[in-house]
Amino acid sequence: MLAEEYKRPEPLLPKKNWERWFSVTKKGVGAWAFALHRLTGILLVLYLFLHFYVLRTLTQGAAAYDNMVQFMESPILILLEVGLVAVIIYHGLNGLRLMLMALNIGVRQHKIMFWTVIVLTVFVSLIAAILMFH
């Protein structure tokens, strides 16, 4: 054993906990996929509460709900909704990719699968944007 009288420092790590999860410098496709997956997951949990908050207007009668729907039709909110579609599609498709890999299917093809997820996410979000803005 090494001389114990030396005061050893803590293990060298990115200082903050979130940096350990999201630091993606010089890392591969898998690290990006993981960081994005966690980020979209957190966003979806936050969105869930926002969603409940919006649905709350249903309990306040038809006028309050119509008011809310009108508010939701502003371009900024539609843009945010397109973002929501992108987040959902990415999280869902990458979730499938992760499930396949947990079952040891296509582990060697993980990079192709990640880029497929990205292409599909962009594609579906574009279609959603076109439909929503018309």
Binding site: P9, K27, V107, R108
Partner: protein
Amino acid sequence: MKITLKILRFNPETDQKPWWGEYQVEMEPDDRLLDAIHQVKWYQDGTLTVRRSCAHGICGSDAMVINGRNGLACKTIIKDVGNKVTLEPLRGFRVIKDLVVDMEPFMEKYRSVMPYLINDEDPGTRERLQSQEDRAIFDDSTKCILCGCCTASCPSFWANPNYLGPAALVQAHRFIFDSRDRATEERLAAVGGSDGAWRCRTIFNCVEACPREINITKAIGEIKKALLYNGG
């Protein structure tokens, strides 16, 4: 070519916190990074501490973070890393001095997966024979040199130091899928716990880091599959 080495130094006897040392060395493009570190240690600053043994990529003792990526200094060619090189000790392990980290927790996990052949059957007067096909199943994981590049690059390990880590799982894979071994059950129990294979989140940092180019995530995936089919 003139290259600049920026090395994260730390001496627990004198330093309060790590500091960056900068050294200029004249190297050939085909030299290895370890040669540059030797230049610094032998001719500029003898207090620089680095661990290496064979210097040919087999002993696995000079793993470090090279320009933000884990690798072996002895297998890294100068022209591949450019003329400004940043060196840090492996992340997630305690620093003993400069680039040397305490690998003991890593080795403890290695031992916990029983990395040796367990077979009480009497082989008679011959070796235990194995077909080429059976040998090929675990061929990839026999390449591991226990340098620690994979485990030190794994965010799951950073977040939970109790996680066995990619290296120990590769070693477990090497024996779980060996047709001559008889301790599959015990070994699957060792890697099936809450700090075992299921902590792998398939981030693939280990595969990027491995200097032996082992497809570690694939090996862990095979362990997960074996755990599923064995009721782990």
